[in-house]
């Protein structure tokens, strides 16, 4: 099968634009903008900001990895110097990649020219939050965060269906999730069973879209049968 050329070969003008954006951002100091051995565009630099009260300058060295599908996939950001420990609640993958967002949330404007600025802005805030997290003794992440693992995806599916606040529905989804984790098998949800929201209607005629949202997630969990899969990040 013929391989699709990487984004910078298809749109060389976008590469030029990216370099300009990286050089122009006031909170990012670009150090190098070369390609890695896999042919990925991998610029490195320092995210920097100053404490409002203390005047303390905080610097964080990062490496950005542009995926082949860029700008329809956002860049992966790595803690280049391995400054932060990988720990529970610290939002770092085992390869020191920052866990910036749950992909399904579509928090970044994929395809747009502001994508890099958004990703680096999110990196800056992640860094600031991580510093607070460190100084709090790595106990509590400041600000909103997703729950860990695939449960976040399940919760997001419920959130999209407007069921996240419904205790019965959450309990039902948790039961399904635990069942798949334990048996490593996905048993299809019966669309004619009572809706988990407690309305008394059949699922299909009440919150039927939940089934469509949860099914691929639960199937995926069943496939990989454990909580971590590097392929699943993107």
């Amino acid at each position: 099968m013929r391989r699709i050329p990487p984004w910078y070969k298809l749109r060389p003008q976008r590469l030029t634009l990216e370099r300009e954006i990286l050089r122009g951002l006031p909170y990012f100091e670009l150090r190098s903008d070369s390609f890695d051995e896999n042919g990925h565009f991998r610029p490195t630099g320092t995210v920097v900001y100053c404490g409002e009260y203390s005047g303390r300058i905080e610097r964080f060295d990062v490496a950005l990895e542009y995926l082949d599908r860029f700008p329809h996939a956002f860049q992966l950001v790595y803690d280049e110097q391995k400054r932060f420990l990988i720990c529970e609640g610290g939002h770092l993958f085992s390869d020191h990649q920052l866990c910036l967002t749950l992909l399904e949330r579509n928090e970044f404007s994929l395809g747009s020219e502001t994508l890099t600025e958004e990703v680096l802005g999110a990196t800056l805030l992640w860094f600031d939050k991580r510093l607070i997290f460190e100084r709090r003794g790595r106990k509590k992440w400041p600000g909103p965060q997703e729950v860990h693992g695939f449960r976040a995806k399940v919760n997001f599916a419920l959130e999209q269906s407007g069921l996240l606040g419904n205790e019965k529905a959450v309990e039902w989804a948790n039961r399904l999730y635990n069942q798949v984790c334990e048996t490593h098998r996905y048993i299809a949800i019966d669309p004619y069973s009572p809706c988990p929201c407690g309305s008394g209607k059949k699922h299909r005629f009440c919150h039927g879209e939940t089934i469509a949202r949860l099914t691929p997630i639960l199937q995926r969990i069943a496939q990989i049968s454990s909580g971590y899969s590097p392929q699943d990040r993107n």
């Binding site: 006031p26 404490g51 409002e52 770092l92 866990c99 607070i132 100084r135 709090r136 909103p144």
Partner: protein, 515 residues
């Protein structure tokens, strides 16, 4: 003008390089040496008796309407004359040295004869008696209609480090070690002379019989001693109540009330312009900053005799002193009043007439002292392990003056606020800041305000681990919880909130996730 993490880090780094390159020596005090010509890079390990002569009714004296008349001129002259005579007794009669005058307390050091603790202990008791008689018998002869001073004397024997941190001929001796601290801590009530056990054990049986044991210290009422003056003369010390009264009368003649000028401070007080005939009054915030656990550390090092570590500890003290002075004078335009061993006393009174601004500046300075120690000294110059400071701060009318003799003047602050700040500082632990309720009310910044809470046991507002970074963390942490948006301002800081100012660059606040 304010504290800045990067500036503080840089200046401490530069100062540390300077201290490191200077040949720093800590030697035992011997016969050939004296404390008068002690250089800045020298310190002496002195085996001796630390004597504290305190005016136990000092608060009453400060509030006395007669002494406060004419801008407290009488108070200033009263204390000045007494301090000169106390100094003369310690230096000229008992061959010791004056360390400092700290508000109500006079701190002296007796170290002769060398290598004879028995004689040294008894001589120091006699010096204590002389200092007591000076206040209770000689002073009333000279100041007939003045309120009577009450005396409390504390003595302790042991090893302490004495260093000179004064500059340009302005001698400022400091003493660090447990005897220096302990002698002040064992001070009893009015008209008492208290000695620590270590000193008591060096006295002969007859000498010791004069004292009665009170918990772990030994106490005597010098007034109850028959012919106390004769005891001093019998040991060959040429001193009498009459002699001190005459000296004080001479000093008094040289300082008529008309000669003394006490003015309201309209601009920043320059301590070098103050003296026996010139003092200033201001509404100011007094701050005491004390290193928690430093005395214990010095004691343990002295006990082990590790001279290299003692030198490191003295170097750290110089670095600490340097930084605190920089924060006071360069960052907040305040006045360093005194270094009292491992403690700093500072005063903030500018801008005059704007009390709220002065108190805010003082609170900012308190936070900055703590930030310097916690965030920079402890991380960049952690040579003694983590050190913490206890800070006390109060605001009120303060008389700023310098008392003593030419070349050896002690800058002092007199006033209720100074007393309160000192008391509050002694009540808090390391990494804690205590401020009065009045000062707390003036704080307008919620980020600072929420760091303090009222401590009913101590009657003050106390903040624990209050540094600029912890404040930022607390404030931004709270806003991150509540706010969905964040803005990056042009000043290079992160501002979090819903109202994004025009021209600010918006940052994407995501919900981090991890598998």
């Amino acid at each position: 003008m304010a504290w800045n993490h990067e500036t503080s880090k840089q200046r401490l780094s530069d100062e540390w390089k300077r201290i490191e390159s200077a040949k720093f020596v800590v030697k035992k005090l011997t016969r050939e040496m004296d404390l008068n010509n002690l250089g800045l890079t020298e310190a002496r390990l002195v085996h001796g008796v630390h004597a504290y002569a305190s005016i136990s009714n000092f608060s009453t004296i400060l509030e006395d309407p007669f002494l406060r008349r004419n801008d407290s001129k009488r108070l200033h002259r009263y204390l000045h004359v007494v301090r000169i005579e106390q100094r003369r007794i310690i230096q000229s009669i008992f061959d010791g040295d004056k360390i400092q005058v700290q508000g109500p307390k006079f701190h002296g050091l007796l170290f002769k004869p060398y290598d004879d603790d028995g004689r040294l202990a008894w001589n120091s008791v006699l010096a204590g008696i002389a200092l007591h008689l000076l206040l209770t018998r000689a002073v009333p002869q000279v100041f007939e209609h003045y309120p009577q001073l009450e005396s409390a004397i504390g003595l302790d024997l042991g090893d302490a480090i004495v260093a000179n941190i004064g500059i340009r001929g302005d001698r400022e001796l400091i003493s660090v070690g447990s005897p220096a601290n302990h002698a002040a801590k064992i001070l009893g009530g009015s008209d008492t002379l208290t000695v620590a056990k270590k000193l008591y054990d060096c006295l002969s049986r007859d000498q010791g019989a004069l004292f009665s044991q009170v918990s772990d210290v030994y106490r005597v009422r010098p007034d109850s001693l028959p012919e106390a003056e004769d005891l001093i003369r019998e040991e060959g010390f040429v001193w009498s109540v009459e002699q001190s009264a005459n000296h004080m009368a001479d000093t008094l003649d040289q300082h008529t009330l008309e000669d003394i000028l006490i003015e309201e401070a309209r601009e920043r007080i320059d301590p070098l312009t103050l003296g026996p005939r010139r003092a200033k009054i201001c509404d100011g915030a007094s701050i005491f900053v004390d290193v928690d656990g430093y005395t214990k550390l010095i004691d343990s090092l002295v006990a082990t005799g590790d001279s290299q570590k003692i030198t490191q500890a003295v170097k750290w003290l110089h670095l600490f002193r340097y930084e605190l002075r920089q924060v006071t004078e360069c960052d907040f335009d305040g006045i360093t009043i005194q270094h009292q061993g491992d403690r700093l006393q500072a005063l903030f009174h500018m801008p005059g007439g704007y009390d709220t601004r002065v108190t805010r500046k003082a609170i900012d300075a308190c936070v900055s002292y703590n930030s310097s120690i916690e965030e920079i000294l402890n991380s960049q110059h952690n040579i003694l392990g983590p050190m913490h400071v206890a800070v006390g701060c109060a605001f009120g009318k303060t008389l700023v003056s310098r008392t003593g003799v030419r070349g050896d003047l002690d800058l002092t602050c007199l006033g209720g606020a100074t007393q309160s700040a000192e008391t509050m500082q002694t009540q808090v632990k390391g990494n804690e800041i205590a401020i009065t309720a009045d000062m707390y009310e003036t704080i307008s910044d919620e980020a600072i305000k929420c760091m303090f809470s009222f401590d009913s046991a101590r009657g003050s507002y106390v903040g624990s681990n209050v540094t600029w970074t912890s404040m930022e963390d607390g404030e931004r942490g709270r806003k991150y919880e509540l706010s969905a948006k964040a803005a990056y301002t042009t000043a290079g800081t992160i501002a979090v909130g819903n109202g994004i100012p025009s021209g600010a660059r918006v940052l994407k606040a995501t919900r981090p996730w991890s598998t």
